[in-house]
């Protein structure tokens, strides 16, 4: 079942939690809302669920309008037939595991036998087949997570919402649950909307990612697209682009290629990411990832585009790579180098970044 969100806005007093968000989730796919704390992910999700009443906009689930401010439609959450897994899992401690999971069926008045049968089936599916009669208060974090999942799926909703469902689990469990979720979705075919502020999770789980910033939609696309081609400095920074510098557009080549002057004669070539063409002399921001920076001993690289001289200021061994902080003219550049050719503090180096890996944005975009 598709979900359409149009012009969604929600304000709490003076706080504009969500302002004019539009997106569509195709049936059977997973969309992740990604963004820093307080950007309005949960609010958006809760508006879809019906737990918040939006201030404006229109939401449809399948072909049914569940909210429309112009028409004055608001469908109560229990009538939307949407499943939801909460961040805290929200397991009811006064019921058994079976009581929790069977609740949606019981409340819709299904016969006892059917409730029992479907509850057991879904518990089997999430791997808790033998916990049916266990008091829900006595479960581990991972088990609670599965119970919450089973409860959200048991009445076979076409849309399931997840608010940071994995954030309370330890790293190993998180990875396992991620895979299991994907398998479950493949089997049951529900449409999933996911909220997270963990980019790894977003990248691995989703068909599409929606990056949010200050209540607005910042960028939308496939994980690869968003990761490789951030549309704004904000997205770049949020997706772990460690090097973000402000400068000025020095010259403009064709096909969206520009050179940014970062001061002290340091110029970096980059791809212009803003929709409108760059103008010479305007303020711009450049961003590139630490792992795309090649570090070589000084003098080993012929001078050319995007080659800068610098000194190692700090080096930190991080297992699979070494994290460098390099002083290069006005810049402090983060880089990652292989562990087999370590530099130490004070080493004179040269760094090189492929222009294709450098993204330039209009300065106003850099929030």
């Amino acid at each position: 079942m598709p979900v359409h969100v149009r012009g969604l806005a929600k304000t709490y007093g003076a706080v504009r939690a969500v302002q004019g968000v539009d997106f569509t989730v195709a049936p059977g796919t997973t969309v992740t809302l990604l963004g820093p704390s307080g950007c309005g992910k949960t609010t958006t999700l809760r508006c879809i669920a019906g737990l918040e009443v939006p201030t404006a906009g229109r939401i449809t689930v399948g072909d049914r309008v569940v909210y429309d401010d112009a028409e004055g439609i608001f469908v109560e959450p229990e009538r939307r037939n949407i499943g939801m897994v909460f961040q805290s899992y929200a397991i009811w401690p006064h019921m058994t595991v079976g009581g929790n999971v069977g609740f949606p069926l019981k409340i819709s008045g299904r016969p006892k036998a059917e409730v029992e049968e479907r509850t057991r089936a879904i518990l089997q599916l999430v791997g808790l087949g033998d916990l049916h009669d266990r008091p829900a208060a006595a479960l581990s974090g991972g088990q609670q997570q599965r119970v919450a999942l089973a409860r959200a799926l048991v009445h076979e909703p076409q849309v399931v919402l997840f608010d940071e469902p994995l954030s309370n689990l330890d790293a190993n469990l998180r990875e396992r649950m991620r895979t299991e979720l994907q398998l479950l979705q493949a089997r049951l075919g529900f449409t999933a909307i996911f909220v997270t502020h963990d980019q790894q999770e977003a990248l691995s789980l989703s068909d599409r990612i929606i990056v949010m910033n200050r209540g607005r939609l910042e960028q939308e696309g496939t994980p690869q697209d968003v990761f490789q081609n951030p549309a704004t400095a904000f997205t770049a920074r949020f997706l772990g682009y460690a090097n973000v510098f402000a400068g000025e557009v020095a010259d403009i080549a064709d096909a969206g290629k520009v050179r940014i002057d970062l001061g002290d004669g340091v110029l970096l070539a980059a791809r212009w990411r803003a929709s409108e063409p760059a103008r010479k002399g305007e303020r711009g921001t450049i961003a590139f990832r630490a792992d795309r920076v090649a570090v070589e001993p000084r003098g080993t690289v012929p001078p050319g585009d995007n080659v800068i001289a610098g000194d190692i200021e700090a080096a930190a061994f991080l297992g699979t790579f070494i994290d460098y902080t390099i002083h290069a003219g006005p810049l402090q550049i983060k880089a990652e180098g292989p562990v087999d050719k370590p530099f130490v503090r004070g080493d004179a180096v040269q760094i090189r970044i492929s222009p294709a890996q450098c993204h330039a944005f209009r300065a106003a975009d850099a929030a």
Binding site: L51, V53, P77, W92, I107
Partner: protein, 565 residues
């Protein structure tokens, strides 16, 4: 799809959702009749005479010297009670929360006991100890000192009994604040070179000041409006307070409702002003010292002084317990002659209150009915309001909070008088229902505040997940929230039950023949039965209350251990 179709569950925008608006309107109407109307009736009666708006009566009332006297007495009694309750409460709380005083675990629950007992019975008991001539303490000390040192029939006596009985309020507030305070704040003081005592006085107590101040203002307001203790102890020593004076205006013939209303209004405005002051002082300061929960602060090693601490605490408990024991002795004598005499030993007084005296029997039954039904209704109303306030987005909720919290500022005697004025010509007057209604309204803030904190402690996601599972709001409340708060509600029920059993002030204004409550029956019995009979009735009431306390303790410790598991 039709916009208004309920089958699809879509309705016009939430603000106009029919049943929500009806619910809010009903709540407002209920509060208007039970909270606003009685208070408005008092204020109205104060300024409106037969001929219309009139301030002449107000001038007349306030130029009477007895009012000036009563006002001074009220302020002095309340201030002294605050000083006593404050110093005792804070000291004991610090000893229990922060020191290594021995026997803390025993003292802690015992220190709360006066909170649950009737101060009228306390006043009755203290007469045995400190009546000027025949009080036991006086007859023992007089030969040594050459004079009798104590006089319970005085401003000091009233304040003393009130202070003893209200110390638990300060104790409870301070203890809570001390236990949730981050120990690092105190450790930092020690690291900066402060001694243990300096740390306690310069850091710990100032950090608890908002809690202590809150409790002290509560004690002041309650003392200013209390009726039973000044009635028993004040009148013999010609010490009138505003509350006994209000009662006198109504009980005297010809009764003077206008004067009573004027005094009530003055008392009410005074307590409102104090509460406003408290709110202004505490704005935004309440939780600044709490940084994390479950953080047990370290205790201070008092060395040998810890036995002194234990002694102080034991002394407080003695002051509470001994008078009750003395009252027990009185209740076992056919006539009280200032000391226990074996020849006068009898159980006749108990026989009298349990089987003979109709007022006593009726008072007991009435109180059991009012308290059982009343506490149940109060708990139900509190729960409904708490759910509406905490778990809906209905409009105008803040107004509901203000109105339901208003009675906290109203002294019982004023509220009772308001109910009298407002309902005297309705069929409700003269029934147990009216008294019960007054109780429920007066203690709605207690019930609501406690219930709200229970509901707040239940994560919203628990009922939201029920909504997402297809449950309506009502189903989500009844099947998830209510079962989860139920154990806590039992304790609130018991607390209200206890409070209703010992209520005096509002009942005094509202009882009629046949609707005497236990406390009223006690006061009535004092009017004609021998002292021993009143004593026996007081002892019975105390035993009933202690039974409830034991039950409350039992339940809350069971709940804590089940939560820990």
């Amino acid at each position: 799809m039709s916009v208004a179709s309920t089958a699809s569950g879509s309705v016009r925008l939430p603000l106009f959702r029919g049943h929500g608006v009806i619910a809010v309107a009903t709540i407002y109407a209920g509060l208007a009749v039970t909270v606003v109307l009685p208070l408005a009736a008092v204020l109205f009666q104060a300024v409106v005479a037969d001929e219309g708006l009139s301030f002449a009566k107000i001038r007349e009332v306030f130029s009477s010297p007895s009012i000036v006297d009563a006002t001074v007495n009220t302020v002095v009694v309340s201030a002294l009670a605050v000083v006593l309750a404050g110093s005792v409460g804070v000291t004991l709380a610090w000893l229990v929360a922060r020191s290594n005083m021995p026997l803390k675990r025993v003292f802690d629950p015992l220190n709360m006991i006066p909170f649950y007992l009737s101060s009228v019975v306390g006043a009755l008991s203290w007469q045995v100890i400190a009546a000027p001539r025949t009080g036991m303490a006086n007859t023992w000390l007089e030969p040594l000192l050459g004079y009798a040192p104590f006089n319970i029939y005085s401003v000091w006596g009233i304040a003393f009994v009130l202070g003893l009985f209200y110390a638990p309020y300060v104790y409870l507030f301070t203890l809570g604040s001390l236990q949730s305070m981050d120990a690092a704040l105190e450790e930092a003081a020690r690291m900066s070179g402060a001694s243990k005592l300096q740390t306690a006085v310069r850091v710990t107590l100032p950090l608890s000041a908002p809690a202590i101040l809150s409790a002290c203002i509560l004690v002041f307001v309650t003392s200013a409006g209390i009726f039973g203790v000044p009635l028993v102890l004040g009148v013999p020593g010609r010490v009138h307070t505003l509350s006994t004076l209000i009662y006198r205006y109504i009980a005297e013939y010809p009764s003077d409702f206008a004067a009573a209303a004027i005094l009530s209004s003055a008392l009410f405005l005074f307590t409102v002003a104090l509460t406003a002051l408290q709110m202004a002082l505490l704005r935004g300061r309440r939780f600044t010292t709490v940084t994390g929960k479950g953080y047990r602060p370290r205790t201070v090693d008092l060395g040998a002084w810890r036995w002194v601490g234990a002694g102080i605490n034991a002394l407080y408990l003695l002051f509470v317990i001994v008078p009750f024991l003395a009252l027990l002795l009185v209740s076992l004598q056919d006539a009280w002659t200032g000391s226990f005499e074996w020849a006068r030993l009898t159980l006749a007084n108990y026989h009298q209150v349990l089987f003979v005296d109709v007022t006593a029997k009726r008072g007991l039954m009435n109180s059991l009915v009012i308290s059982t039904v009343g506490a149940t209704l109060a708990v139900a109303v509190s729960l409904l309001l708490a759910l509406v306030l905490q778990r809906t987005r209905l409009p105008a909720r803040q107004g509901i909070v203000w109105l339901s919290m208003l009675p906290v500022t109203v002294p019982g005697i004023v509220l009772g008088f308001g109910f009298l004025v407002a309902f005297v010509s309705t069929p409700l007057y003269g029934t147990l229902w009216l008294i019960m209604l007054a109780y429920i309204v007066h203690y709605l803030p207690t019930g609501l505040r406690n219930t709200e904190s229970l509901v707040q402690a239940i994560s919203r996601e628990l009922d939201e997940s029920a909504r997402m599972s297809g449950a309506t709001w009502w189903e989500a409340m009844t099947r998830v929230v209510v079962p989860l708060v139920a154990p806590g509600m039992v304790s609130i029920w018991l607390l209200l039950f206890v409070t209703f059993i010992r209520e005096v002030s509002a009942s005094m204004m509202l009882f009629t023949y046949g609707t005497e409550t236990m406390s009223i029956a006690l006061i009535r019995i004092m009017e004609y039965e021998p002292y021993g009979v009143s004593g026996a009735f007081g002892v019975l009431q105390t035993l009933l209350l202690l039974g409830c306390v034991a039950l409350i303790r039992q339940l809350s410790s069971a709940r804590q251990s089940s939560q820990a598991a």
